[in-house]
Symmetry: C2
Subunit: 100 residues, 2 copies
DNA sequence: CAAAGCACTTTGATATTCAAAGTATCAATA
DNA sequence: TATTGATACTTTGAATATCAAAGTGCTTTG
């Protein structure tokens, strides 16, 4: 069981980051405001958790202007997708372990 | 998606506690030493996380003597089982959400 | 040109984590 | 029978994490 637990990724042991990653697994790109609405979190919370994921190279952040307003959007990286998938697999293993 | 994320239980956002609960879902009772070995954690880590689960009434702690040595064992409560199941359902929902 | 809004980021008080140090009891060795 | 070691935990606290309020830098509106 230790082997399974070791595969659980600390970065994803957080509601907001779990939500961000889930959203980016199915959406090519999601912008700041949409993500905030989707998750129902404060902007401060979203911003700091985005930073954590970015520093881990799990997501990419793209900033641009859309009619004179800043627009920040996120996408998942290959590394992020693999790490998240590994985390989900570990969770699944933990549940399978329960049954044997 | 906010509705799903809200169902994620903060108490279970921790490797050790996730492991404890998984173990107690399938084992009527597990003692301190066995749990520590099973999870591969330090005794301090196990002890403090057991306290968290106990204060949340998710597990019961039973202390007794087995040939003059203290023996502490844990079991899941009805409340704990329900809470953990709800948490697992939320995780599952989050994954299902990914597919639509 | 203030004042208000928008789209974020930073700050910091508060909460959490977990291993080292501590406690209590028993067993063995000298 | 002191003394050291082992076992079975618990407590402490330094390090780290969380997240909402306050801050920043724009633009727009009155």
């Amino acid at each position: 069981m230790k082997l399974i637990i070791d595969q659980i990724n600390k970065v994803f042991e957080n509601k907001t980051r779990l939500g961000i990653m889930s959203a980016l697994m199915v959406n090519e790109s999601v912008d700041f405001i949409s993500m905030r609405e989707l998750l129902g979190v404060t902007d401060g919370n979203l911003s700091s958790n985005i930073s954590v994921l970015e520093h881990n190279k799990y997501i990419k952040v793209k900033k641009r202007f859309i009619n004179k307003k800043t627009n920040t959007s996120f996408s998942i990286t290959k590394v992020g997708r693999n790490a998240f998938q590994a985390h989900l697999n570990a969770l699944e293993e933990l549940l399978k372990w329960r049954l044997k």
